[in-house]
Amino acid sequence: MTDQTDKPIDFSELDPTRDPLRFDSLVDDVMRNAEHELAARREANNIVGQLARWRIPILTAAAAAAVFLIVSPNGVTTQNTPTEPNSGIAEAIGIPTEFAAWMRGDAEPSMADIYVGFSDQ
């Protein structure tokens, strides 16, 4: 290689950082365009954002469970014999049998009943 080709070409005029003010404005432009994405990432990573993402599925599941709880006593009661445990959707989704029975019945449980119910779990 010749001596000339060992020396770099002066491209400093093409250096975007040559003028600090202009470089700052270029970076500002990038940041302005990126702000929407950055904000979305911040929201997705904070606790409120996490909850917000789960809000719709949780509400949907809760509404579905509520509908089942309201509907299931009539359907299940007519099918059950007196000797069989009174089981329905409530038990299927994990609600203790005693609590489910209170929900179906007319009588209000006393505090003692509730305490015993929890104790049995």
Binding site: M1, T2, Q4, T5, K7, P8, I9, D10, F11, S12, E13, L14, D15, P16, T17, D19, L21, R22, F23, S25, L26, V27, D29, V30, M31, N33, A34, E35, E37, L38, A39, A40, R41, R42, E43, A44, N45
Partner: protein, 190 residues
């Protein structure tokens, strides 16, 4: 100029940027804007279009940060995006003929005659670069403007180190022929 050593903290900045930390992302932008610009410039041919490509590429990179499998090699990953965006830009955007660089000079500059001289010099450099092949432009800009070493350039561009040297040799020779002796500088790489 950022070389080895910068990569140790790139991973940390990438992780913070993934969580939406503006400062971390801005650090990455400032750190790699020059490299991105040099790469874009070598593909689109002028500074203004290169700036547009950089804007687009950085935002795209942010949107796809989860795809950056090795955050400590963020630079290489980013420059791939820059190259893709530059190719797309060149392919789909119309050439913005007639857009004078002076029109977008930062407000507050006090010496219009100096701006004109610098603008002419920039145009001269861009025109000379347009005489090179794409690979020659990428190598000479990354080496002479961005200060990369041949092993970094070879890895980034997917060529051998010897090929990188050869591209640089030919590029400089052609540029010196076009630009004349004034094109050569005596500064050393930092």
């Amino acid at each position: 100029m950022e070389h080895a050593g910068a990569s140790t903290s790139d991973a940390s900045f990438v992780e913070q940027a993934k969580r939406g930390n503006s400062t971390a992302f801005e650090t990455l932008v400032r750190r790699y804007y020059r490299a991105a610009h040099a790469t874009a410039l070598s593909l689109v041919g002028n500074s203004m279009d290169a700036e547009d490509v950089c804007q687009d590429a950085f935002v795209r990179a942010l949107e796809r940060l989860e795809d950056c499998r090795s955050p400590d090699r963020f630079k290489s990953w980013l420059l791939k995006i820059v190259r893709n965006r530059a190719h797309n830009y060149r392919e789909y955007q119309q050439v913005r003929a007639g857009t004078a660089i002076e029109d977008v000079a930062v407000a507050g500059r006090s010496n219009p005659s100096q701006d004109v001289v610098r603008s002419e010099l920039r145009s001269k450099l861009e025109k000379a670069l347009s005489e090179l092949t794409e690979m020659q432009r990428q190598v000479v800009l990354l080496y002479d403007l961005e200060g990369w070493k041949h092993d970094d350039i070879a890895e980034s561009l997917g060529v051998s180190i010897e090929s990188s040297r050869q591209y640089l040799f030919v590029a400089r020779k052609r540029l010196q022929k076009i630009l004349g002796a004034d094109s050569v500088t005596v500064y050393l790489h930092d």
